[in-house]
Amino acid sequence: MGDTAPFDEMYDADGTVREPYRALAQWIDEQPEKALSLMQADAEGIFRRLGITFAVYGSDEGTEKLIPFDVIPRIISATEWRRLSKGIEQRVRALNAFLYDVYHRQEILKAGRIPEKLIVNNAAFCPDMMGVDPAKGVYSHIIGVDIVRVGPDEFYVLEDNLRTPSGVSYMLEDREAMMQLAPDLFQRIKVAPVETYPENLRRTLESVAPANVAGTPTIVVLTPGIHNSAYFEHSFLADQMGAQLCEGQDLFVDGGKVYMRTTTGPERVDVIYRRIDDDFLDPLTFRPDSMLGVPGLFNAYRAGNVTLVNAPGTGIADDKAVYTYVPQIIEFYLGEKSILSNVPTYNCTDEDQRAYVLEHIGELVVKEVHGSGGYGMLVGPTSTKAQQAEFKKKIEARPDNYIVQPTLALSTCPTYVNSGIAPRHVDLRPYVLVGDKVRITPGGLTRVALTKGSLVVNSSQGGGTKDTWVLED
């Protein structure tokens, strides 16, 4: 890893087009000059109309930005996808079983497979969740698994986001835009649909309503409000599912049950797809200063009168320190070898490994255990000496606060840039729904690092997105 040329998803080393990309390559060849540049301009117009923007935290402008979209789709063959989706399903089943266990009998800790203190003393472990039996035994219903590819058959899972993964609206809008921009391409190439996601989301949410709900459950999406960077997505998903979008103040708890204020009086709420972090959900149980949540919401949940999606405390399963144990977790609960690999990870609390990390920091990627969004990380090869020195100090001061991984040669996909079509590094976030069954939308969100050579794909750090096509057989 790292010392060879990155794997190009469109071209083999000898320059021939790989099978999944053949029809697309031919289509690109047939386009008149400037066609792609016109498409790119049209795309911007489409996204402005759709209103998809995001806020960058900490930016001086504080303005809403348009996430860059690349008009060349990323393509995954049916065979590749079958293996990927099997591996993803295995992971989300095992991680939900792990969540059930750590919040009940903790057999995996008793068996000594994971150090007890790593779990019970973890900030992401939520003691209040002990003994809760969520509907269908599912804790994390909506998951976005971050995957990178480094070779024809080599995929690595970077992170299993089991808290409140965002970005699914980009996946849907990228497809929508692509169908408007190049309808003829969809005539030539059979692409698995993604537009079933909102319907599948609704089905999943309905399937995990509390057992005592008669009739069709009432679902709401709970948002922190318009100032949240993903507010667009919250309102988009509510709209697509035909559910109410609520803020904390629109909901209240009475007699241990949750109600929504409506113009015709209170309406009972059964399932809450919440996009508010655990800490802010309920000032009675969690942070008392939270103005975003609903007082007593957790009590109503604990009493079995409402389902929270995802459950509080799921962060323990995607904690970066727990991540290294996922292969053992899969083996412990499913008795299977993991299909998808983890990125090899150095544990800085181990003296030998820490020494290696400090010595080779210029080649490695350092991540904060509780960080996300590409903030608070160091990418060795593109960092300055000063940044490296700073992270060395940080690691020495708090070795348990960082995980370190080799710099992966992320695969590249052809991307339309100023100079024409050029390879750029990509990752993939497929979206998984877990309820009465596991539903994985074919494809997911492809994020692309638009700067030449850059490996950071986060939209907050200058990344863009691509429509992701899974070919049908």
């Binding site: 009940h104 903790q106 003691p127 007699g255 109503a300």
Partner: protein, 266 residues
Amino acid sequence: MRIAIHHQLSITPPPETGNMVFQLLMTPRSGATQKVERWSVETTGIGNAARYADAFGNTVHFVNQMRPEGPVGITATGVVETSDRNGVLGKPTGEPVPGLYLRATTLTKVPVTLYGKFRGMKDDRIGLLHALMARVGEVLGGEEMQAGQLQSQDGQSQTQTVGEARKADAALLAHGFIGAARALDIPARYVSGYLLGDGEPPGLHGWAEAYDPGLGWIGFDPYLQICPSEQHVRLCVGLDALSTTPVRAVPDGNGVKTIAVSVEAA
């Protein structure tokens, strides 16, 4: 022995409160050291309360009151029959697993000087725990401690009566004991309860329980420097005093006030 308890509290929500929600941890459970003969919790809205077991196995009443006017009173009354088992409660039959009580919390942070010298004693856990109780009493129970300064340690804002000051001291010592035990890899938990005092004013009290793989949970009262006796009535357990707070409310106005606590031989 049979102990009669009457515990009365009050909260005054701020004016114009639309909906006050409150969680009550005011119901003792029967167990190895006590049998609850009768018990009732009364407050406006209790008939509509949700009742369930929390993460630590405590009985919770979750109550709310729409547009409360003036102070809301809460009363717990009952009789509990206790027996002296030298604090030994035995092995838990259900959940949560003892390992949960290895979790460090803000209130149970302790300096290594409190427990460091017991590291070599891990083979004799019972002996270690008794020695630790004595050590916590010596280090944290000195006369220089002022109850008023310790109130924040209790996790509650309540008017301080003589009994309350005692409870704050007791909580501080229990937290010291719990934090030290956890640092030594021994699961330990906080117990809220009532005490029928000998020369101590009867009332609310707090102590600790530590886990031994052989005997199960064992009580330690670092404030009284004894294992709990038949004068101790267990109310609730949790990670610390904060997680066993009898009444927690949103909004809570000026806080929860204790109106009266009586603990008498019945």
